[in-house]
Amino acid sequence: MSTEIPRRQLRLYYRDEAGDFLPLWLSEGEGVATWWTAGIVIDAQLDKAYQGTYARHPAYAPEDALRYIARDRGLVRGPNEPAAVFADRALRWLDDHRLRGGPWAMMEQLRAYMFPANVRIRTVDDRGNWFTIDRDGSRSYVLDSGTWNWDSPVGRKTRFWVIIYPDSSTGAYLPWQKTVWGPERTWGDPSLTWGTTATPAEVAAVRQIVRVWKAGGTTCKNIIIAYDDSSFDPASPEPDGDWQLWGTGGNGPRTPNRLFSARYWRGTGE
């Protein structure tokens, strides 16, 4: 637990207080051991009730209670998120859920899931609305920029993309390294995914957060892990209308459409 439970106060220990009321034969010699044995059971149950009451509160919950609290509050705890950090987030649950459906709440949930990695996250939609939470937590946005063209869509669309920029401040990318298949990786290993060190469970969790926290009537097309901090800049993003495929060129040598510096996860709709 992240906070120590306050010690029970005042006249709450049977073994401490019952002595005032006992007859003489229970107050001396073997009598003390006799009632003390019964008293310890009573006190143990009082302690159990006391600690059990606190167990439901995030700040005081034991470690194995936090996953139940997470489910009850509609949150996903990050694999490396400490109990104290999650507890603070759990206390904000009502305020966060009030903003569910908007970009900021979803991005904050994703940042929390990836704690302690200091990531930057962006969302962009077909209309060219950009929302960014930077590594220092500052927020910025650009509305209706018209700069985003993933696949030259026909008609009005309600798609969006999530772009995650891993933290490279420690020299290694966090939370996930970029990878390529090679001798140290086994084809078909169920614990691995293409392109990053994210596990299938982590990818599923990220998709789950996006799906649950997005607005109804929208779809997340891709979750992009961008290893180049300068990529996908709102002023001049790279997608130029044919990024629905990795490459073009028919049966001959193919020309890459997408950046090699990024990884592209399926979003929520496919």
Binding site: T37, H97, T158
Partner: protein, 405 residues
């Protein structure tokens, strides 16, 4: 001091375990426990204390579990006494979700006197009638006493009746309430229309309702999809308790939201759909973002044929076992989501035969159960997104009893 885990806090001890602990501790404190014989005053006191403590432990378990939706729901599904009430309290106090209570089936009946007897001033509660189909009884609930005049041919209609027991077991189709318990010679009774009683909301339904409630918190235009489901099942908003299942398909690149609803028995009437649509449009559909459509789900009737192997220690007749399985599968199908169950990565919802088998298995004490096989459906049938699985004919292809070991 080691901090207890939640598992520690939820564990219970039996009378014997607590008693043994006390005697052992007393011995360690220097008391001559080895010389105590049965009937000894201290042993008696310890046993009494241990028994009371074991009782308190079971209460504490529910009290602590009541802080967590999954845990108290688990105890309720296991039939732990009082756990369901704690779940209803948690749903109400933390989520603002009101669990539906069981309702009493009620309808109107017609009495016809084929004999010469005169039965005057029949007041509410004076006449008890019964369904020959279910065996359930009903009382007349008329505000003003009525008289069944001498016959033959005397008919009096529109007498209100209400079931003695709450719940769906007292539901009756037209004509099924057809027996008099109260002796009125020559008088017959029938119900021209059906009587519907509903059960108290199931544990799974309450839990799901609580989780979906979170979606309704959003003030953002374009609420999450579970806001639609929550509103559809909220009788305080829709005016109907008929909806027990809802599924919203809100992953769209054109701003479309499709929603399908169903009741415990599947398809819903156009009146119910209209009432729910009005509520969802009022409380969930946002401005300009999405196009919204609501329809009743279409029944996908699934028959089940099974083979069951049990030990003869079970002490139930074949008929009783078949009824038990049918009741269990009825509840299973009532919980199936519209569009079927999805395994992660699958794009088609299904009814999983393994889940059907698991449901049947869970009906029996493990000591009595050997095996179950699902003959039909042979594979996991697919469920289209607007279909709701409902139970069809349940057939026992084989129920075999083996000598208990």
């Amino acid at each position: 001091m080691t901090t207890p885990t939640l598992d520690d806090l939820l564990s219970t001890s039996s009378t014997t375990e607590i008693f043994d602990f006390m005697v052992d501790l007393a011995g360690q404190l220097g008391l001559p426990t080895t010389s105590w014989e049965e009937g000894d005053v201290t042993l008696t006191e310890y046993y009494t204390s241990a028994d009371l403590a074991a009782s308190r432990d079971r209460i504490l378990q529910k009290y602590i579990a009541a802080g967590f939706l999954d845990l108290i729901a688990g105890l309720a599904k296991d039939g732990v006494a009082g756990a369901y009430d704690w779940l209803v309290l948690l749903a109400d106090q933390m989520y603002g979700y009101t669990a539906a209570t069981a309702t009493f089936a009620s309808t109107f009946v017609t009495f016809e006197n084929t004999g010469g007897g005169l039965y005057q001033d029949q007041a509410a509660g004076d006449v008890t009638i019964r369904s020959s189909t279910s065996g359930k009884t009903y009382q007349i609930t008329n505000e003003t006493p009525f008289t069944i005049g001498s016959g033959p041919g005397f008919v009096i209609e529109d007498i209100p009746v209400t079931a003695d027991e709450a719940g769906s077991d007292s539901s009756a189709a037209a004509g099924e309430i057809d027996e008099l318990v109260t002796s009125l010679l020559g008088v017959t009774v029938t119900n021209p229309s059906f009587a519907v009683g509903t059960d108290a909301e199931s544990v799974d339904s309450i839990v799901q309702g609580c989780r979906e409630k979170l979606g309704t918190l959003s003030v953002i235009e374009g609420p999450p999809e579970d806001a639609y489901d929550s509103v559809a099942k909220d009788s305080s908003l829709t005016g109907t308790t008929a909806v027990s299942r809802s599924r919203t398909y809100a992953d769209s690149d054109t701003g479309e939201v499709e929603q399908y609803i169903a009741g415990p028995s599947g398809e819903l009437s156009s009146e119910v759909v209209a009432a729910v649509e009005q509520a969802v449009v009022s409380y969930a559909v946002p401005l300009a973002l999405a196009t919204y459509s609501l329809s009743s789900a279409v029944n996908l009737v699934q028959a089940v044929t099974y083979r069951l192997w049990l030990y003869d220690s079970i002490k139930l007749t074949q008929a009783e076992i078949e009824q038990l399985v049918e009741d269990g599968l009825l509840e299973f199908f009532r919980q199936r989501p519209i569009g079927g169950d999805f395994i992660a990565g699958d794009t088609t919802g299904r009814i999983y035969t393994s889940a059907i088998a698991g449901t049947i298995k869970a009906l029996f004490d493990p000591a009595d159960f050997i095996s179950v096989a699902i003959v039909s459906p042979a594979t996991d049938p697919s469920v289209v997104k607007n279909e709701v699985p409902v139970m069809g004919l349940v057939t026992a292809d084989l129920i075999s009893f083996s000598q208990a070991p």
